[in-house]
């Protein structure tokens, strides 16, 4: 018998959601056959069978959030041995051992009402609506003393209750994230809501159901933590410029049919990526990062460009690897396939990590300009905004041109304002006069 446990498949994950079992009990599997889809905070991964054998018992149900280290499935490996007796229900030992209950939330049987409240609805969706953290007064008191907002703590106790152990784990995670350089109390301040609010969780209770509480978890929680980390470590400055897009517009119009013939939908984005990569090569500091631990500047001689992408689950940043090695067509194809994978939740871990610079393209939705938050630990992020005809002055005359704003947020520890403006000037010159892109061809 082989007990297959959920391992940390990247990014120091703590739990994964069982999206789908690709096998059922009784199936024969070969080693490395995909058997289950597990979704972590950002990616969906297919986990392969570790041994050849027969699926004996599936312990983690579809839709369950499973902590790292708990057993997903028991496989009778090829040298068949008699199966051990499995417990019929949660034993008392399991009640004491939180990690032994992979398919939480499970409510105790006699409490029919409680059971219904926390298991109703589609178990395939992980975000419960308006869930309030479950905890005894003692645990709430401890949370307040530790300056933890208990609503943010994932409960692993009976019926999904927050336990003392959950609080400690949550606190340890915070401390780890802050690299130990900040005191316990400061971490609490940075990552919980205001202490007053935490101390009076019912401050909004008198609103009689007009306030809905939704747990911050999964991708949203991940984004929140990431944003806090970025703005709390990187001094941001944002510089805005406007670009005249008529030439690029014309170029794209002319090339669209060529692209169509090759089965590629040609948008503006591949041109932007091309121009940005050219500018990054000329301004290495824009493609750098600061190593927070050693204080060194890391200049990267490769260009992995993240494309901030809006999905139903929130912001995801798929990364175009070695964007400087790709043609405009190849960029267009890569962007299309990454966007599709992001929207269907099929991104692999290596497709969302390792970026060196990020583009946030919200122009298709609207907005004049923005102050984007840098994708930590990168040095800068470029926001690309709406393209529209505007009245501008050329040679002393008001004329109508297709204009577009760009916003560059940069790490002011590494980059001065003048450098940043020279960088965007270079992007502007490449995009306003796209013929120049020919000169940079390799």
């Amino acid at each position: 018998m082989f007990e297959y446990k959920l391992a940390d498949i990247g990014e120091g994950m703590h739990e994964g959601e069982i999206v789908r079992w690709l096998v059922k009990e009784g199936d024969d599997v070969l080693v490395d056959d995909p058997i289950v889809e597990v979704q972590t905070d950002k990616v969906t991964a297919e986990l392969p069978a570790p041994v050849t054998g027969k699926i004996h018992h599936i312990l983690a149900k579809e839709g369950a959030m499973v902590p790292v280290g708990s057993t997903l499935v028991i496989i009778a490996d090829a040298q068949a041995r008699p199966a051990p007796q499995l417990p019929a229900g949660p034993s008392e030992a399991m009640l004491h051992d939180d990690s032994a209950q992979p398919d939480l939330p499970v409510a105790p049987k006699p409490d029919g009402v409680v059971a219904e409240r926390f298991t109703s609805g589609d178990r395939g969706h992980t975000a419960p609506l308006a869930k309030r953290a479950l905890a005894t007064p003692h645990i709430r008191y401890l949370a307040r003393q530790m300056n933890i907002d208990i609503e943010q703590v994932e409960g692993t106790g009976r019926g999904g209750r927050v336990t003392e152990e959950d609080l400690r784990r949550f606190r340890d995670d915070l401390l780890e994230m802050s690299s130990g350089s900040v005191t316990d109390e400061k971490v609490g301040e940075a990552l919980t809501k205001t202490p007053e609010r935490a101390a009076s969780p019912d401050a909004t209770a008198h609103q009689n159901g007009r306030v809905e509480r939704v747990a911050l978890k999964g991708i949203r929680k991940r984004i929140a933590d990431h944003m806090v980390k970025s703005v709390s470590t990187i001094p941001h400055v944002t510089s805005v410029d406007e670009l005249e897009m008529d030439s690029l517009h014309g170029l794209r119009e002319r090339l669209k049919t060529v692209a169509q013939a090759r089965g590629v939908k040609l948008t503006f984005l591949p041109f932007f990526v091309k121009a940005i990569v050219i500018a990054l090569r000329e301004f290495p500091i824009m493609n750098a990062s600061l190593d927070d631990e050693t204080g060194d500047i890391l200049l990267k001689h490769y260009y992995h460009i993240g494309i901030a992408t809006d999905t139903d689950d929130g912001l995801i940043v798929p990364v175009i690897k070695d964007a400087d090695q790709l043609t405009v067509f190849q960029l267009a194809q890569e962007i299309a396939s990454l966007a599709m994978a992001a929207r269907t939740g099929k991104l692999r871990l290596d497709q969302v990590t390792g970026g060196t610079f990020t583009i946030s393209n919200v122009g298709s939705i609207g907005g004049l300009y923005a102050t984007p938050i840098i994708n930590h630990p990168e040095a800068a992020i470029l926001g690309i905004h709406k393209m529209e005809p505007r009245s501008v002055v050329r040679d002393g005359v008001s004329v109508i041109r297709t204009m577009m704003n760009i916003s560059l947020s940069f790490d002011h520890r590494l980059i001065d304002g003048a450098t940043a403006v020279r960088f965007t000037n270079r992007i502007r010159s490449l995009l306003e006069d796209p013929d120049q892109l020919f000169l940079e061809m390799m």
Binding site: P137, H138, I139, Y141
Partner: protein, 327 residues
């Protein structure tokens, strides 16, 4: 010097010694003289102290309590016996309207140094109205003290304190344990203070509160769970229901974080409810589980063998402790 006495003998000795020591102490009640009392608590006292100190009364509880009030106002220290707690009902007018209020009514000019002793609780296969545990009636009434010993030592010491107390004391004697066991009781006169609970057994995991005959049930169940599951139970004998030893009760739950109350009385609005309120006020943030109560049911106390189904059993107490531990 001390001897092994049961609760009944300890109570009898307390009255005997206080009567010897203080000429104002008198006894009254039904069949307490010639017959020595329905449970023989006053056996031999008529012979020893004579008709002026020990007198049989008619079968009229209102008259017994009313007479005791008059005696107390007149400078005596009456110790009245009511044969069973439910027989107090005909005397409630005297107890609630007069005994409890005399100090208040006279602006502190007169107090009533009197004791009403009465056996209480089920478990003796009695007929109707012989097994009540309505201690909450008296605890609810301002002006009364309510004391429940659960061991021979406490029975003697608490009754001495009750007789010396300047205010009316309802002295409840757990009938079932009258002769259930013996322990060392000093021969000398001693006092156990009213208003102090006793931590019978220290523990870490859960506090069990009990009084009267429920204490032995709590102790034996805790012992079993210690062996079977390794639970460390703290057992608190309340001893005094009014005034309540709030400090000891709260401190225990602050330590353990869990509480179970074993009460023989009906469930609704009993002492257990009061303890839960107290802990809610004073120890909420220490609670790791809801406070459990194991009690009788909200029905008249049944008689003969059906009372076994009414009273808390070891199985119910055990389940209560396990529930709170595994919450």
């Amino acid at each position: 010097m001390s001897r092994n006495l049961n609760i009944l003998q300890a109570i009898s000795e307390a009255m005997d010694q206080k009567m010897e020591q203080d000429g104002r102490v008198v006894l009254l009640g039904e069949d307490i003289g010639t017959n020595g009392g329905v449970f023989r608590a006053t056996d031999g006292l008529l012979e020893k102290f004579g008709e002026d100190r020990v007198f049989d009364t008619p079968l009229a509880e209102s008259g017994i309590v009313g007479s005791a009030i008059g005696l107390a106002l007149g400078g005596m220290i009456p110790v009245a016996e009511i044969q069973f707690l439910a027989f107090m009902y005909p005397a409630l007018e005297q107890v609630l309207s007069h005994a409890a209020r005399m100090r208040f009514r006279t602006r502190g000019e007169y107090s009533l140094p009197m004791v009403i002793r009465t056996p209480y609780g089920a478990g003796i296969r009695g007929p109707e109205l012989h097994g009540e545990s309505v201690e909450a009636f008296f605890v609810h009434t301002p002006g009364l003290k309510v004391v429940v010993p659960s061991t021979p030592y406490d029975a003697k010491g608490l009754l001495v304190s009750a007789i010396e107390d300047p205010d009316p004391v309802i002295f409840l004697e757990p009938t079932r344990t009258y002769r259930a066991f013996r322990e060392e009781v000093p021969e000398a006169l001693y006092r156990v203070p009213i208003g102090k609970a006793k931590v019978v057994q220290e523990g870490r995991d859960v506090s069990i509160f009990a009084w009267g005959s429920m204490l032995q049930l709590a102790i034996s169940t805790a012992r079993q769970l210690q062996v079977e599951r390794g639970y460390s139970c703290e057992i608190v004998d309340l001893r005094s229901l009014a005034p309540l030893d709030r400090d000891t009760i709260v401190a225990s739950v602050q330590k353990t974080g869990r509480a179970l109350i074993v009460q023989e009385a009906h469930k609704t609005a009993g002492m257990a409810s009061e303890l839960i309120s107290l802990l809610n006020d004073e120890a909420l943030v220490y609670l790791k589980a809801p406070i459990k109560r194991v009690s009788g049911f909200d029905v008249p106390v049944p008689f003969f063998s059906v009372e076994d189904d009414f009273m808390p059993t070891q199985a119910r107490v055990k389940q209560g402790i396990v529930d709170t531990m595994l919450f």
